[in-house]
Amino acid sequence: MIEAPNKRSAQIDVFVGQPGGMLKALHALQSQSEANFLSPADIKLVASKFGVPVAKVWGTVTFYSLFATTPRGRHIIRVCENAPCHVVGASDILAALEQHLKIRAGGTTTDGLFTLEATSCLGVCGVAPAIMIDSTVYGNLTKEQLPALLAEYRQEAQA
């Protein structure tokens, strides 16, 4: 569903004129987007509101890993692949997720529920290997725990 442009516009009005407000506006737009991403229309909107070239907004959006420019699933699964998780078996976790969800890192499930992303350190190495689903971190993971964990999100989506 594409929302009416004036509604999207209202979501970022408070940031216009704030010093450094553009990143905040982008955060706000993405968090209120159905498909968890910033569309070309969003980027044009931000450019015109802040009076900067579209290229500058585009450059900023693509610089940061928390922003996406293609539609993503309802839930974003981030798997840390840095050394502290790597030495305690993170690659097994990623492989198990890929197998279970039938997608590769970077992909979105056909039902649009999950997007799988390999990411840099999440800062919860004390409970490595760890993954993050949206803003919730799950640690001390074994691949056996994954199906039950994902089932919770599926159930919630059906309810």
Binding site: T136, V137, Y138
Partner: protein, 123 residues
């Protein structure tokens, strides 16, 4: 607050308050840092609240703190009864319910789940 003196008097009031106030008989403190939450502290919190409500234990206070540094042992739950503290490691919902039954109701700490045991590694 307007000055150092005011801060001092507030601190004294707080200290006195802690001494005078009806202290709860028992306190359960749950580690709710990101690592605790990542290891399942929310589920533990819910299980404890649920068990306390089911057993009508309104004199037991439940509170939270953040990470103490033993992230790998999370979820950590500290039970303080009459000033004596026991810190439990690797707590899950089921263990939490048993801790309430055994430690809070019967006054018997579940020593095999204490963190001192867990410091040798996961059992």
């Amino acid at each position: 607050m307007k000055s150092l003196n005011e801060l001092k008097s507030l601190r004294e009031r707080l200290e006195k308050g802690q001494q005078l106030a009806e202290k709860p008989l028992r306190t359960i403190i749950i580690g709710m840092g990101t690592c605790g939450i990542a290891a399942g502290a929310r589920g533990v919190l819910l299980a404890i609240m649920d068990e306390l409500a089911a057993k009508n234990l309104s004199d037991t206070a439940v509170t939270q703190t953040s990470c103490i540094g033993m992230c790998e042992k999370e979820p950590l739950v500290e039970v303080v009864v009459e000033g004596k503290s026991t810190l439990y490691a690797y707590v899950n919902g089921e263990k939490a319910r048993r801790i309430v039954l055994s430690h809070i109701i019967n006054g018997e700490p579940v020593t095999e789940w204490s963190v001192e045991r867990a410091l040798g590694g996961r059992v």
